[in-house]
């Protein structure tokens, strides 16, 4: 008897707590952001967070919980469970790395929560593993490479030397480049992930008859490679996806990066009103130039706010439809979602230049217009 009444009391308490919660939530959206804020890749997560905060500034209907995943899949999974179960978030975002996204995103959407990816775009989530609740605001992983291959073929590059770390994102990227590149691949090296010395590889590049080096080495690996390449006296052209030449990294590479061509969906000099405002606001707020990660974080918040203006997040179907419209002024210019909830957008070719004392990127052309990933055909939702 005593036990029964205790259970009854507890359930009433739980029920009323739930109701109070629903009340407090009318029209508001609670966002859980799990991103990398410590360790080697922290710069990326910090930029996504700062871009998001900048766009969401002053929006009282948007409540944000931020946690650091330390770039570890197990920690990201724990944090996601905590956010969904005890923080009761409606929408999640923030993850930088594909392996973490694969660990977290399917579980989030399976529990009926929206996920807006500000960076990682693994092919599995664009194809068979797509979900009505999952939206990628950045890119599918292959986009920059496919556009790079197209641009290289159209701009007289005949013989390339490919280099990437020996892990899925590295080999996938090179496969993406080869799928659209029409010239010869004269050499291909897959290095250890986290390698810091590239003397041996540079010697092989020197010995090859390639006219261009195309590489993907994210973070510190790219910094090391570019500094060593500049000191080696090899004068072959250098190309890559934007990840190795983004604003956070360029300061550390310095003049060694000048002249490098890289593909990106965004650049700080893209001439549209949203971007001009974003670049100015970001510099005023944080005192540094924004990176592409910051642009993605900013767009993610704009997308979310556009959907919040049209539908209540509790009405999942309406909110999904509102997100699909992508009715916001992206800093990238034209932006739309394909049926698999991945972007249709232009991919630009940028060149690293010096503006005064600052090493930065400048758009020199469009590498692929209205680019869309190839995995959408496998997506059934």
């Amino acid at each position: 008897m005593k036990l029964k009444s205790l259970i009854a009391a507890a359930s009433i308490a739980a029920l009323s707590a739930g109701m109070a919660y629903a009340d407090a939530h009318g029209g508001k959206v609670k966002v859980g952001m799990i991103t990398t804020l410590s360790g080697g890749g922290a710069g990326l997560g910090i930029d996504v967070r700062d871009g998001f905060l900048l766009a969401a500034k002053g929006n009282e209907n948007l409540e944000l919980v931020i946690e650091d995943d330390q770039r570890k899949p197990d920690i990201a999974v724990q944090l996601a469970d905590k956010m969904i179960q005890s923080e009761k978030v409606d929408v999640m975002t923030g993850i930088i790395w594909s392996n973490l996204a694969m660990a977290v995103v399917p579980a989030v959407t399976a529990q009926g929560k929206f996920y807006l990816s500000p960076n990682a775009g693994p092919s599995a989530l664009a194809g068979k593993g797509c979900s009505p609740l999952y939206f990628n605001v950045a890119w599918q992983n292959d986009a920059f490479y496919e556009a790079g291959g197209t641009w290289a073929s159209e701009n007289g590059i005949e013989k390339v030397f490919l280099m990437a770390p020996n892990y899925p994102a590295g080999t996938d990227g090179m496969t993406g480049f080869k799928s659209t590149f029409k010239g010869d691949v004269v050499g291909e090296i897959y290095t250890k992930l986290g390698q810091t010395d590239y003397a041996a590889e540079i010697a092989q590049i020197r010995a090859s008859d390639a006219d261009t080096v195309y590489f993907f080495l994210p973070g510190g690996m790219g910094i090391s490679f570019m500094k060593q390449y500049a000191g080696s006296g090899v004068d072959k052209k250098v190309m890559g996806p934007a990840f190795s030449f983004d604003q956070g990294i360029l300061a550390a590479i310095g003049d060694a990066a000048l002249g490098v061509k890289n593909t990106s969906h965004w650049s700080k000099d893209l001439d549209n009103d949203a971007n001009v405002k974003f670049v100015a606001d970001f510099q005023a707020e944080y005192g540094r130039l924004p990176s592409l990660y910051a642009a993605q974080g900013y767009d993610t918040a704009l997308l979310l706010e556009s959907a919040m203006g049209k539908a209540d997040v509790k009405d999942a179907a309406a909110f999904q439809a509102a997100l699909e419209e992508a009715d916001f002024a992206s800093v990238r210019g034209d932006f739309a979602f394909a049926p698999n909830h991945h972007p249709i957008q232009d991919i630009y070719m940028r060149e690293v230049v010096k503006e005064g004392d600052v090493v930065t990127n400048k758009v020199i052309g469009v590498a692929a217009s209205d680019h869309q990933d190839v995995y959408g055909a496998d997506c059934k939702m």
Partner: protein, 305 residues
């Protein structure tokens, strides 16, 4: 593969080995003299690189940056010894590993707090930038040659210090029997602080030298630390000579393995799978070397007992 390319790769291996020696020498001294496993040695490498980048940023001078790196790493080493390590000598290795692992985390987050999360800029000085032509038509980066030179000089200096000077005699005596030299009136705790600061300064020098051609970022020391442990296991724990031979062996094996193995596998496999299998075996090559050495010499090449 042409001979020129091979010679260039041997030079690369030497340069890598010499850099490892600067790390491993300090590690093996500290382990040999004090019996301490210092996982935080990689953090001192990072301190050196960050100090060099900061000083170079303020003054624009690479020489001052190197001096700053040596001073900062030695000071950090001495401070850590006085505050933390001193309490660990009588503990077992597990306690030492735990405490020095904690130091890694403290150093990493402390560095991020001071310098931020983005990698710092540190470049090769203009006088040493660019390649030079070696006899035989080999184009090789001058700065890497300088690293080889500096490393060999430091190795020679270290041998002289250990073999010819009073402090060297005390270090060797400390390795052999620490109770006895304490009984003979040598201030053992001061000796320990000096050895620790010396090892830290060498790690800091390595960090600063390598920072100019790599990325100066938080956590840069840990991959090098693992290799340095492999080196001292191969060379024999506590032996400077072992550290030198071990470093060069590991440097050459790692570099040449990465270059020669993929083509070797290509001679009897399909090109695409040979490439990935070859790269995979190449990354294992130093550990295979370590197993091979330990099979025949269980205490390392120059291990005493």
């Amino acid at each position: 593969m042409s001979l020129i390319l091979l010679i260039e790769q041997v030079l690369n291996g030497l340069q890598f080995g010499v850099m490892l020696f600067l790390m491993a020498a300090g590690l093996t001294l500290i382990f040999g003299v004090m019996g301490l496993i210092n996982l935080a040695h990689g953090s001192l490498y990072m301190v050196g690189a960050f100090a060099a980048a900061a000083v170079a940023g303020w003054t624009g001078s690479f020489i001052l940056a190197l001096i700053g790196a040596l001073a900062a790493a030695a000071a950090a080493g001495a401070l850590v010894e006085l505050l933390v390590i001193r309490r660990l000598y009588d503990r077992d290795h597990l306690d030492q590993v735990l405490a020095t692992f904690a130091l890694i985390l403290i150093f990493s987050e402390g560095t991020r707090w001071l310098f931020g999360s983005f990698p710092l800029f540190l470049d090769v000085p203009a006088a040493l930038a660019g390649p030079v032509m070696l006899p035989g038509g080999i184009l090789y980066p001058l700065y890497r040659l300088v690293i080889i030179g500096v490393g060999l000089l430091v190795a020679a200096g270290l041998f002289l210090l250990i073999a010819k000077t009073r402090i060297g005699v005390r270090i060797r005596a400390g390795e052999a029997d620490r109770e006895m030299i304490a009984a003979l009136g040598v201030d053992i705790s001061k000796l320990y602080t000096i050895v620790f600061a010396l090892g830290a300064a060498l790690a800091g020098l390595a960090g600063a030298l390598v920072g100019a051609i790599q990325s100066v970022q938080v956590g840069m020391g840990e991959p090098v630390l693992i290799l340095a442990f492999v080196v001292i296991v191969i060379g024999g724990i506590g032996s400077i000579k072992g550290a030198l031979v071990g470093s060069l062996l590991v440097g050459l094996t790692d570099t040449l393995g990465g270059v020669l193995l993929p083509p070797l596998f290509e001679s009897f496999m399909q090109a695409s799978s040979a490439n990935s299998v070859g790269s995979a075996v190449a990354s294992m090559s130093i550990y295979i070397l370590m197993v091979g050495v330990l099979l025949f010499k269980p205490s390392g090449l120059f291990g005493g007992n």
